[in-house]
């Protein structure tokens, strides 16, 4: 890799690391991070496909409250770099992507530990900011806020830079050493991993009331003509209809007969 490419990769990694905690621009999401690394290293197509595949696995990974989810930032950046190294050494695209996916999960665990370390380092930083606040020192508060964000960026930038200097022959060698049963098995496991993210989402939202909507979504998705946008529209409509009916039922309980005009007419015939 040229020095220029490495610099660009480190910049992407830095952005991803910052976003890993900020969660605003989404540079840490695989779809964005892998595409950018693919772009700067000249393997745009492979980067996009890797990003899409990893994104599917990471859909439900979210930081809720003080709990920290598997780290998408390191997983997407580091696995994309490994994919680029494999491609540069002549591996074919699908093999490089499969391997990158397999290493993404252990990397997300490593990233999780790194962010926990940085979030602990941030405690003394806010104590310094307390001191600055007591002096009315605006500049120091700004400065230490920026330092804290940069630490999160460096968390990903340093491992990324280190990976860039691994000779691509070594990556290729490791690839060739990996037996078929292992890589095939990892691919099969990868197909199931998405379920963990979805389960995290379900546990967060599920109540007796909303389970039937899960079943509806599941059954309707089997109709392959329905695109995701169509499923979204159906979902929004169902939510609106359900909330509307619930409202009607609530007001209907108070005022006799309202909310069901047909029922009222039938009642009148009695």
């Amino acid at each position: 890799m040229s020095v220029f490419t490495i610099i660009l990769i480190v910049i992407v990694a830095f952005l991803a690391g910052m976003e890993g905690v900020l969660d605003q621009w989404q540079f840490h999401q695989p779809l964005v991070a892998c595409t950018l690394i693919g772009l700067v290293s000249g393997h745009l197509d492979a980067g996009i496909i890797l990003g899409g595949t990893l994104q599917m696995m990471a859909l439900g990974w979210a930081n809720v409250g003080a709990a920290v989810a598997p780290d998408a930032a390191l997983a997407s950046v580091a696995s994309a770099i490994l994919m680029v190294l494999a491609l540069n050494s002549g591996a074919d695209q699908s093999q490089a992507i499969t391997t990158a996916i397999a290493v993404a999960v252990p990397l997300s665990v490593a990233g999780l530990f790194l962010t926990m370390i940085v979030r602990t380092i941030a405690i003394p930083i806010v104590h310094i900011m307390d001191g600055a606040a007591a002096r009315g020192d605006f500049f120091a508060i700004d400065l230490w806020s920026i330092i804290a964000i940069c630490l999160q960026g460096i968390r990903i930038a340093i491992p990324a830079a280190a990976l860039c200097f691994i000779p691509s022959e070594a990556v290729m060698g490791a690839l060739q050493m990996m037996p078929a049963w292992l890589s095939d098995g990892m691919t099969i496991g990868g197909g199931m991993v998405a379920a963990v993210g979805y389960a995290m989402v379900i546990n967060m939202m599920a109540t007796k009331e909303v389970w039937p909507f899960f079943a509806l979504g599941f059954c309707l998705a089997a109709i392959s003509q329905l695109t995701l946008i169509a499923l979204g529209v159906i979902g929004i409509s169902l939510a609106l209809i359900y909330l509307g009916l619930k409202e009607v039922a609530k007001s209907g309980a108070g005022a006799a007969g309202s909310g069901d005009p047909l029922g009222d007419i039938l009642d009148d015939y009695e």
Partner: protein, 314 residues
């Protein structure tokens, strides 16, 4: 005081809005988003309090514990701006009132932000972008990135303005039914979409062969006859291809060989496609409820994948 009332201009509010994006920058295990919150308030504090003691008091006031969803924090900072403005203009707004508003709003709002943004909008846009990207289309990442950020920036600005304009009356809205409805609507949409995603994107294929049936003549493509036609060269090859393709389109995939192979997967798909996927997902839900770490489950899945493949089950 009344003749020269200090107000926050639109530029001040834009400055707060811009800084508020870095709310989680110094996220820490002690007081969580407090540093980022204070960082966000600085333009307002500078404008509202000209003398040093008031500035120091304000900075300290905003270094208190704070933690919510980073986007729905925008209405909270909007309300806080309104309160600080009143205070700077001489209204008796206590420290406790400001901290009370922050703490009172952050809980219920986080309860809205997490399901709406992390569990509905991001999976939806992410899955949409990813399904395009897996086909190699650059539109996937672009769509995700642009749509997400347009929605986010607009949401953060307009809800901050909303909070600022309403001031404290927004806290009454919180206890009203609207928040509950948004959360419930998002949960319904979220569950529906997740149901769909489980069917489409969790893949498990059981490969054991349940039955192998030798099909009767005419139910499969007679490749010997095709080969004979193809021996005629030139036109013959074209005829052979045409004949094979037309037979294939009428017989379907089972016509490709004499033996009709039925895998366990094919049998399961006849019940409901994706039944195994939903089983695995529900198993994960149960394991997570049992406080098994998601990381352990993920690693376990790879182990099952490898072992299952070796045992020729998957």
């Amino acid at each position: 005081m009344a003749d020269k009332k200090i107000t926050l201009s639109k530029n001040d509010r834009l400055a707060v809005w811009f800084r508020h994006q870095y709310l989680q920058g110094s996220w820490n295990y002690e007081r969580m988003q407090n540093g980022g919150w204070c960082f966000s308030m600085i333009p307002a504090i500078k404008k509202l309090y000209p003398n040093k003691e008031d500035q120091i008091a304000a900075l300290k006031r905003h270094m208190e514990f704070y933690n919510t969803h980073p986007y729905v924090s925008s209405p909270v900072i909007g309300v806080t701006l309104a309160l600080e403005e009143d205070r700077a203009n001489g209204a008796p707004v206590e420290d406790a009132a400001i901290q009370g508003v922050k703490v009172g709003m952050m809980g219920p709002l986080a309860g809205v932000g997490d399901p709406v943004f992390w569990f509905t909008l991001r999976p939806l846009l992410g899955a949409l972008g990813a399904s395009l990207a897996m086909g190699g289309s650059i539109m996937g990442p672009i769509l995700f990135f642009v749509a997400w950020n347009v929605i986010r920036l607009a949401f953060e600005w307009y809800t901050q303005e909303f909070g600022y304009k309403l001031g404290t009356s927004i806290t009454k809205d919180l206890s009203g039914g609207l928040m509950g409805k948004i959360t419930e609507g998002a949960s319904i949409l979220g569950m529906f979409v997740i149901g769909g995603l489980v069917e489409r994107w969790v893949s498990i294929k059981f490969t054991p062969i349940v039955s192998t049936v030798t099909q009767s003549e005419g139910a499969y493509i007679d490749w010997n006859a095709i080969a004979e036609t193809a021996n005629g060269g030139g036109q013959g090859v074209a005829d052979a291809i045409q004949s094979a393709l037309s037979q294939y389109s009428s017989l379907g995939a089972t016509g490709l060989s004499i033996d009709k192979v039925t895998t366990l997967q094919a049998n399961l798909d006849q019940l409901i496609p994706g039944l195994a996927a939903v089983g695995v997902t529900l198993l994960c839900c149960w394991l997570l409820k049992k406080k098994v770490s998601p990381i352990v489950i993920i690693i376990g899945m790879f182990a099952v994948g490898i072992l299952g493949h070796l045992a020729r089950l998957l």
